[in-house]
């Protein structure tokens, strides 16, 4: 039991202190209860995921359409359903190579990044790439490839419409 002076002695109530004494203990227990409930609620309802934005344009009809206006060369990256990635260059340099899928059908993003780095080294003015995927390719793979391409080439336009 709390007392006026906090000593725990009930007789203190009847002691020498004046009934108008300003010395009292604030009852914090209900406030603590409220905090516990609030913290539990916030922790349960909070999704600690940070949603970010990945920039992508449409190769045809987008805000900044890509096409022939990509400088000296045009880069196209093809995602196939079996996990292979095709890289095709056109314009002043023509050619292409295929990054085969890893065991289990996983995409070899490391090799893709390395190959794109080689292209960028030869053509530093390359600013945009077109990304084409087969219809059955999962959105996860498309996003993953956009992320890899953007490390080398800042602009990625979705194509295949």
């Amino acid at each position: 039991m709390s007392t006026i002076d906090g000593s725990g002695d009930p007789l203190a109530r009847l002691g020498s202190r004046s009934p108008l004494s300003q010395d009292f203990d604030l009852n914090l227990a209900p406030i603590i209860d409220c905090f516990v409930v609030l913290i539990a609620f916030v922790m349960i309802s909070t999704a600690f995921a940070s949603i970010g934005i990945l920039e992508a344009t449409m190769a045809a009809g987008g805000r900044t359409p890509t096409g022939a206006a990509s400088g000296d060369v045009r880069l196209r990256v093809d995602l196939s359903a079996d996990g292979a990635i095709g890289i095709e260059l056109s314009g002043k340099e023509s050619g292409g190579f295929i990054v085969p899928a890893l065991p289990g059908g996983r995409r070899d993003d490391v090799t893709l990044s390395r190959k794109l780095g080689e292209v960028k080294k030869n053509w530093p003015g390359l600013k945009q790439a077109r990304l084409v995927a087969e219809n059955t390719v999962a959105y996860k793979d498309v996003v993953s490839s956009i992320e890899v391409i953007r490390r080398t080439v800042p602009g990625v336009a979705l194509d295949g419409f």
Partner: protein
């Protein structure tokens, strides 16, 4: 040993708990949680079961029309626009020659009258096929939404 006849005062078993410090800790935790509540670049509340792909981003916060692509529904700003899709795929008779979904185009046109702007935030499930993404993007482009942003979960 000599026994003392002086009566010892009884030990006071009643004590007051010092909970001021505990209240301080709770207050700090509460402020921290409230501060980190919804700290993402955009305010997105995905539907249950929707898995957003992960990718590193560094873009600034944006606002725009939210197009959510789930397994069975396509939502516009949280409201169901199309409920008749199966396994993330539109019905073949719903797709027009340019690849856009007729039902989604009409829903987007209605939305366009309410909310202007050309920015679309695509919140799609990571298992959705590229054909569905293309159909949604084509529908948005036909309606005048041409600035696309893909919502992803930042691993950091």
């Amino acid at each position: 040993m000599r026994k003392s006849f002086v009566k010892r005062p009884l030990l006071n078993t009643q004590m007051t708990l010092q909970i001021t410090s505990m209240a301080d800790i709770f207050m700090i935790i509460l402020v921290f949680l409230l501060k980190t509540y919804g700290s993402g670049a955009i305010d997105v509340t995905p539907s249950p079961g929707l898995i957003i792909p992960r990718a590193l981003t560094g873009s600034a916060p944006v606002e725009g029309l939210k197009l959510e692509i789930g397994e069975k529904t396509v939502r516009i700003d949280g409201e169901i626009a199309i409920a008749g899709i199966r396994d993330y795929k539109f019905k073949s008779d719903d797709l027009s020659a340019n690849g856009a979904s007729k039902a989604l185009v009409s829903s987007l046109q209605r939305k366009k009258q309410e909310k202007s702007g050309s920015q679309v935030i695509v919140v799609a499930d990571q298992r959705a096929p590229y054909s569905t993404i293309k159909a949604v993007l084509a529908s948005a482009a036909v309606t005048g939404y041409t600035d696309f942003k893909l919502a992803v979960v930042n691993p950091n």
